[in-house]
């Protein structure tokens, strides 16, 4: 049974209401409010330490949040909703197995309708199927991690800097996979520092600074006329602390 069949109600809008997150007494996310209504790719931007990854983890239920602060289509984040999501981390966590065994681990969970061969072909790793996953290049590892996520047929795909430190060819391949997922109707939440990538992919941009959302703007407007000073400084290449 695929995840698209598991939860049938709409998952949009994704709403975050008064989200606060403190870790060891330190407030890291403060009074976060936003409502993501549109399909396509939402870009989450901001300087390091702004809380982007924390927000993504909260949205994926990896960090505990008070009930009702995060809702998908009006329904609170719950295990059933989580099963409609998949997340790719900045550092891909690959099992100590071959490439195909990494994918088989997911298909054996019963979360995929695709075969391992289909998934390998989709991300262009067919010829590397028997290789140890951790011996792949950085770009290939990230493609494998993305293939595992896509194997779950997610309706919401959370990507934490999936192209950080990758060469342009690898970035292109990853972006093609993201676009393919988006075109199939998957809502993508993407963290990136790459302004070029943001311009290529994003429909709207959520900008975080010091644990707060300083603006949520359509991408076309954000890159021309950001409303917050922090975003303007960030885009103009100033160091934002």
């Amino acid at each position: 049974m695929s995840n698209k069949q598991l939860v049938t109600h709409p998952l949009l809008p994704i709403s975050v209401h008064d989200l606060h997150l403190a870790v060891q007494g330190k407030l890291l996310l403060t009074d976060l409010n936003c409502c993501l209504t549109g399909k396509g790719v939402t870009l989450i931007m901001g300087p390091n330490g702004a809380g982007k990854s924390l927000l993504l983890r909260c949205l994926h239920g990896l960090l505990e949040t008070p009930p009702g602060t995060i809702c998908f289509g009006g329904q609170p984040l719950c295990p059933e909703v989580r099963l409609t999501q998949a997340m790719v981390f900045q550092q891909p966590v690959l099992l100590r197995r071959s490439v195909e065994a990494n994918l088989r681990f997911i298909t054996d969970l019963g979360r995929s309708n695709d075969t391992v061969e289909d998934l390998l072909a989709r991300v262009g790793l067919t010829e590397k199927a028997k290789q140890p996953a951790r011996r792949l290049s950085g770009g290939e590892q990230q493609r494998l991690a993305l293939a595992r996520a896509l194997a779950c047929a997610p309706r919401i795909l959370l990507l934490d800097e999936p192209t950080a430190s990758l060469d342009p060819a690898s970035v292109l391949l990853i972006e093609q996979l993201i676009c393919q997922a988006r075109d199939e109707g998957t809502k993508v939440l993407l963290i990136s520092h790459d302004i070029g990538q943001a311009k290529r992919l994003a429909e709207d941009v959520v900008f975080l600074h010091r644990g707060q959302i300083t603006e949520h703007t359509p991408a076309a407007r954000f890159f021309i006329n950001p409303t917050s000073k922090a975003a303007a400084d960030y885009l103009s290449g100033h160091i934002v602390l």
Binding site: G61, L62, F89, V93, L95, R134, R135
Partner: protein, 233 residues
């Protein structure tokens, strides 16, 4: 003369002396059985401690780590007291039997298997936890994945346990009694034959023991090299 003892030891080994082989086989049997049981106990204990946060976990891990350094003679004494005729398990009549030696070795090596596997699985758990939660991986599947993905490190742990078991002397001599054709193993035989001045037998057994240690270490090294080559450690 020492050189004569070496030559005689060589002869004993070449002609596969029956007494020598009997001692070797019993040593291997006792160590293998104790290792098998300690793996069955130690691995799950290590996995439970590695994967679960519960009150007292740190104390349990600290105690387990401390038990790795148990003095064999103290273990031998405690097992002796338990199995002796006046002890709580005396009715079983296990003292001076290979079973008693298995129990003593079990007490010595189970903490080693448990503590080392706990460390190995804990490291893997830290690495995989978020990803497994992301994929909603069932707990039993996660445990199996940890055990499989840590297989090289766990094999090293198990071989370390075997090394400790096969080379142990203090505990098994107390609870086994070093009885000829019954509880005499390599280490206890070496101690006895040396004290008797029968250096040839002691040397022959010593060569076997040393060879076993070398084989175990070579296998460990081979596993580590293989694991590194595959990117599994």
């Amino acid at each position: 003369m020492i050189s004569d003892a070496f030559i005689e030891a060589g002869h004993l080994l070449v002609r596969l002396d029956a007494d020598l082989m009997e001692i070797l086989i019993l040593s291997m049997q006792v160590s293998a059985v104790s290792l098998l049981i300690s793996v069955v106990i130690g691995l799950p204990v290590g996995a439970v401690l590695a994967m679960n946060a519960f009150p007292g976990r740190h104390i349990a891990v600290t105690v387990l780590n401390a038990l790795m350094g148990l003095p064999p003679v103290v273990v031998g004494l405690l097992v002796y007291l338990m199995l002796s005729r006046s002890g709580p398990l005396g009715v079983l009549g296990l003292l001076y039997t290979p079973t008693a030696m298995v129990i003593a070795q079990l007490v010595l090596i189970t903490p080693i298997i448990g503590a080392l596997s706990c460390q190995v699985i804990e490291d893997l758990h830290h690495e995989y936890e978020a990803q497994f939660r992301s994929f909603s991986v069932p707990r039993t599947t996660a445990v199996c994945a940890y055990l499989w993905d840590a297989r090289y490190s766990l094999m090293t742990t198990i071989l370390a346990g075997f090394g400790r078991a096969i080379s142990e002397v203090g505990a098994v001599i107390i609870v086994g009694g070093n009885i000829d054709h019954l509880t005499r193993v390599m280490t206890t035989a070496i101690a006895l034959e040396t004290s008797k001045g029968e250096l040839a037998v002691a040397l022959a057994l010593g060569i076997i023991l040393l060879s076993l240690a070398l084989v175990v270490n070579a296998v460990v090294m081979m596993l580590r090299t293989q694991a590194k080559r595959m990117g599994y450690v």
